[in-house]
């Protein structure tokens, strides 16, 4: 009996806005608890929600990128439940009419493009965060009301690799559109993973287990693998009735999933439309404006790099991996660097350096303009390729302009004819025996002379020029 895994994902991502989704307090991370809060976030009596247009706009951008249908009327619902992190006793979310439904995108997994269908995208508010101590807990309302976009896929993903590829792709789209910084390190992304197993060829989905609040993509991968293993063992042992619809959580320390509670069918969230937020018509003109703001997305860019600039699939893939890399590359082209050359430098020297020092390209001292200042003298033959590489590191070490460093380290090639002729004359004078040997037919002595010149000039002589002059002088 061959088993097949079926995965559905819910990805929550904090959106980038100036203020929170329903209040005027700042949407920014702050270490000091309860420092970015307003009466609205803490649900003081009489407070009312104030919808943030920017958050709606960012949500619409994402809905567009995922090819969702966008409703004509914007509606928000209340999800009613009591929990200490929920100040109002309800969360404002979208149930009646989410901001995007029935979306579809393709994601690269290895060499294949796989389709993923989106059930819905909805905009909601984040809750406060709780810190539990031995015999008390603390509540920090800084996060309460931060705009949160939840993207829910259909159960249409069939491997942990595809799940992670999809999440990475989404994170990339968030960054490309600027809808979110999508920084997992800052806890801006949280995933719920639904995993079930079914018999190969069957059309009935198996019992779904939900793993909640997984906070990194590698943990998503691990949690899926763990669930596949756990559920497979149970099925193989004839104990499939022990796979029940339930909510589990990923436990970092043991690298396992742990049962939280039996499933939600028993929880009724009593959704109803929030009467404090009027139904708002989404105007077509506004949608057009938003659409115009969406930049070319990663897969499109990749295709254009391959088609237009003849980049290899690999190089194009590395460059589009982040919007910052891709923007860097495009800036290089704008100031006149050859696309292939730019791609080579980015994928080898630059990526190598960034990875080694754990840097981001947008905080990189070597801007496209400085790269240009290294490549230009190289291409004009003023410095050798070896020198260009040296110069690359010097620029980063000294944080100085390439132009200045070429002078400072005396890197410019010696290609003045008179100077070179003088040096060569001197060397031939001092090596009369070798000159005779050469003239007698021992032509490999030519390289010896070139070597002598290079030694004399400490490698700075322009080798092409040196050869030219030598040939003339040795006739």
């Amino acid at each position: 009996m061959a088993l097949k895994v079926v995965i559905g994902l819910e990805m929550h991502c904090e959106l980038k806005t100036v203020s929170k989704v329903f209040s005027k307090s700042k949407n920014e991370y702050n270490d000091l608890p309860n420092s970015v809060v307003s009466p609205v976030d803490m649900a003081f009596p009489g407070t009312m929600p104030l919808l943030n247009k920017e958050a709606v706009k960012n949500s619409i951008k994402m809905a567009m990128c995922l090819n969702c249908a966008i409703p004509e009327i914007l509606i928000f619902d209340r999800k009613n439940y009591f929990y200490p992190d929920l100040s109002k006793g309800y969360q404002i979310t979208q149930n009646t009419s989410p901001i995007g439904v029935n979306g579809k995108i393709e994601v690269e997994v290895g060499d294949a493009l796989i389709p993923i269908t989106i059930h819905d995208i909805h905009l909601e508010e984040d809750t406060a965060s709780l810190d539990h101590y031995f015999d008390y807990s603390l509540i920090d309302y800084n996060r309460a009301g931060v705009p949160l976009l939840e993207i829910v896929t259909d159960p249409c993903i069939y491997s942990p690799d595809a799940a992670v590829a999809f999440l990475e792709h989404l994170r990339n789209i968030y960054k490309y559109t600027g809808a979110s910084d999508a920084d997992t390190k800052k806890g801006q992304i949280r995933c719920d993973v639904n995993v079930s197993l079914m018999e190969e060829g069957s059309t009935t989905l198996g019992t779904k287990v939900e793993v909640k609040n997984v906070n990194s993509f590698s943990n998503v991968h691990a949690a899926i693998l763990y669930e596949i293993d756990r559920q497979t063992r149970l099925i193989k042992a004839g104990r499939q009735d022990e796979i029940i619809q339930e909510t589990r959580r990923w436990d970092d320390e043991t690298s396992t999933t742990v049962r939280m509670r039996e499933k939600v069918e028993s929880v009724d969230y009593k959704y109803y439309i929030d009467p404090n937020i009027p139904k708002i018509k989404i105007e077509k003109e506004w949608l057009d404006e938003i659409k115009a703001e969406i930049p070319m997305l990663p897969l499109m860019r990749k295709k254009s790099y391959i088609d237009q600039y003849n980049l290899s699939n690999y190089d194009a893939g590395v460059i589009i991996k982040t919007k910052e890399n891709s923007d860097y590359f495009e800036e290089c082209l704008e100031i006149g660097i050859n696309p292939k050359e730019a791609a080579n430098w980015i994928t080898s020297q630059i990526m190598g350096y960034l990875n080694k020092y754990n840097l981001e390209i947008n905080e990189f001292y070597l801007t496209p303009k400085r790269l240009f200042e290294i490549l230009e003298p190289l291409n004009k033959g003023k410095i050798s390729s070896k020198q260009a590489k040296e110069l690359f590191f010097k620029v980063l070490e000294d944080e100085e302009e390439p132009e200045v460093l070429i002078k400072k380290y005396n890197m410019e090639q010696l290609d003045n004819d008179d100077e070179l002729t003088q040096i060569i004359n001197k060397i031939l004078e001092n090596n009369k025996t070798q000159v005779e040997e050469y003239k007698d037919g021992k032509t490999n002595m030519f390289d010896y002379f070139v070597g002598q010149v290079m030694k004399e000039t400490k490698g700075k002589a322009n080798p092409v020029k040196v050869k030219e002059i030598l040939l003339n002088r040795l006739i």
Partner: protein, 467 residues
């Protein structure tokens, strides 16, 4: 009355002190808080030196705001409701917070955590609610105006019982920011005064779009005060036959008299040249108003008041875990009446019930709103008794009165502007009429009310004397 007071205002805090003393000496149990140190801040503004009181469900910075509930018995807000803020900015001086039915959920004025409010015309009788203390304070002449809130008649009913003017403008004309929510889609901020003119004057100063309330709208082209004296030409009003004919089961003598008085009032109104027509509406539909109102209001209230957990404000409950503390707070913070509404609210919101109860109630709401809106294409307003009797005695069979009068909620269903003005006496107790107009047609409504008030002759009436 405000005009008269303004000309009288010579020595700064004189009026304010007078009001504070009257409030302290009153025996109506109208106040949760009397603000002893209230003072005039600026003397050159529209309402400078005019004392007022606010229902205790308005957020008042630095002043206890309990909504007459144990769940908020120690809550001192740190921000002002928009209406309070605007009054402050125009110079009016808040001298007290008034008792109400707990959290606004009640029609009697007897369920506040500090006890029942007494009717100033007869202390044996109730004021009605939920804006009980606000109506009592104005009727007793303690202050010339009060802020109230109206979710299903909470301003307009007690105004009838107390013989004062109670006006709630079109939904969203006055910001609700800082008004403790009961049922957000029904809640209105409004005023209680002794004259239509004062009501217009106060609402003119507190209305307007507010960025903190998304349901508020720009009414800068509306000037209620100047609309009062506009030409009345031939206005057309209607009343609903089924509400005004005397065939209520358990009919009380006072109801009969109230309806007789209403008919006399209609005849007086006709002398203004107004047309007053009788309209018939299916009684089944009218009977659905109360359950539809009750269902929607309970559902919204349950959700709105889920913030009352004692975690952030209000007395902290006892318990080892947050859940236990919330449970304890909500067990001890509310009267059984409130808990009953929460249970009903939760019940009708459940996935398996929401269609049958909440959505059907929403349909009733829409059918009634559409019906009345349709009538407003022909008519300038709907005129009805503001109550079907004078204020009952505290020991009377209250539910009999109250259920039948839920037609005042029609104005909350549709967000229509609606005003109660006194129209006479039954057994020495005041009663009023209620006029409701079309959405955003407040100028027309107040123009009509002002002219009717003029011929009825109960302007500036308080228990201390009229005019």
């Amino acid at each position: 009355m405000i005009d008269t007071l303004k000309t009288k205002l010579k020595t700064g805090d004189e009026l304010i002190n007078e009001s504070i003393i009257k409030a302290k000496n009153s025996n109506l149990n109208a106040f949760v808080t009397i603000i002893n140190d209230a003072k005039v801040e600026d003397k050159d503004l529209v309402l400078s030196g005019i004392p007022y009181v606010a229902k205790d469900n308005f957020s008042t910075k630095g002043i206890l705001s309990t909504a007459s509930s144990n769940s908020l018995k120690d809550y001192i807000p740190f921000f002002d409701a928009t209406a309070i803020k605007k009054l402050k900015e125009t110079g009016a001086v808040n001298i007290g917070k008034t008792v109400m039915d707990e959290l606004g959920m009640g029609e009697t004025g007897t369920t506040g955590h500090t006890g029942a409010v007494k009717n100033p015309w007869d202390n044996e009788r109730i004021t009605g609610g939920s804006s009980a203390g606000s109506c009592a304070a104005v009727a007793a002449g303690i202050v010339p105006f009060a802020l109230g809130s109206d979710t299903g008649g909470s301003i307009r009913k007690p105004s009838s019982y107390c013989g004062v003017v109670g006006y709630k403008p079109t939904y969203g004309m006055i910001s609700r920011y800082g008004l403790f929510a009961l049922a957000s889609s029904f809640d209105h901020v409004g005023v209680i005064t002794t004259s239509v003119k004062d009501a217009a004057l106060v609402v003119d100063t507190i209305k307007g779009i507010d960025e903190n309330d998304m349901t508020s709208w720009d009414s800068s082209n509306i000037n209620l005060t100047s609309s009062l004296t506009a030409n009345i030409k031939t206005k057309k009003l209607f009343y609903i036959k089924e509400i005004c004919e005397n065939n209520y089961s358990d009919t009380l003598d006072e109801t009969t008299k109230t309806l007789e008085l209403f008919n006399e009032t209609l005849n007086k109104v006709r002398t203004l040249g107004f047309t007053v027509d009788e309209i018939s509406i299916d009684k089944t539909l009218l009977n659905a108003i109360y359950p539809a109102y009750f269902t929607i209001a309970s559902a919204e209230a349950t959700s709105n008041m889920a913030n009352l957990t004692g975690m952030i404000f209000g007395p902290r409950g006892k318990g080892k875990t947050a859940e236990e503390m919330m449970f304890d707070h909500r067990t001890n913070g509310f009267s059984p009446l409130i808990k009953r509404k929460f249970i009903i609210g939760s019940y009708v919101l459940r996935a398996e019930n929401i269609d049958r109860y909440l959505f059907n109630s929403a349909k009733v709401r829409k059918i009634i709103t559409d019906k009345i809106s349709d009538l407003f294409k022909t008519y300038d307003g709907m005129i009805l008794p503001a109550s079907l009797s004078p204020a009952p005695k505290a020991d009377d069979k209250l539910p009999v009165y109250l259920k039948t009068e839920q037609y005042l909620a029609i104005a909350n269903f549709g967000g229509f502007p609606s005003i109660t003005i006194p129209s006479g006496f039954v057994n020495n107790m005041p009663v009023g009429i209620n006029i409701t107009g079309n959405i955003k047609d407040d100028e027309n409504l107040l123009n009509i009310a002002y002219n009717i008030e003029n011929i009825l002759g109960y302007k500036n009436q308080t228990t201390k004397g009229g005019k």
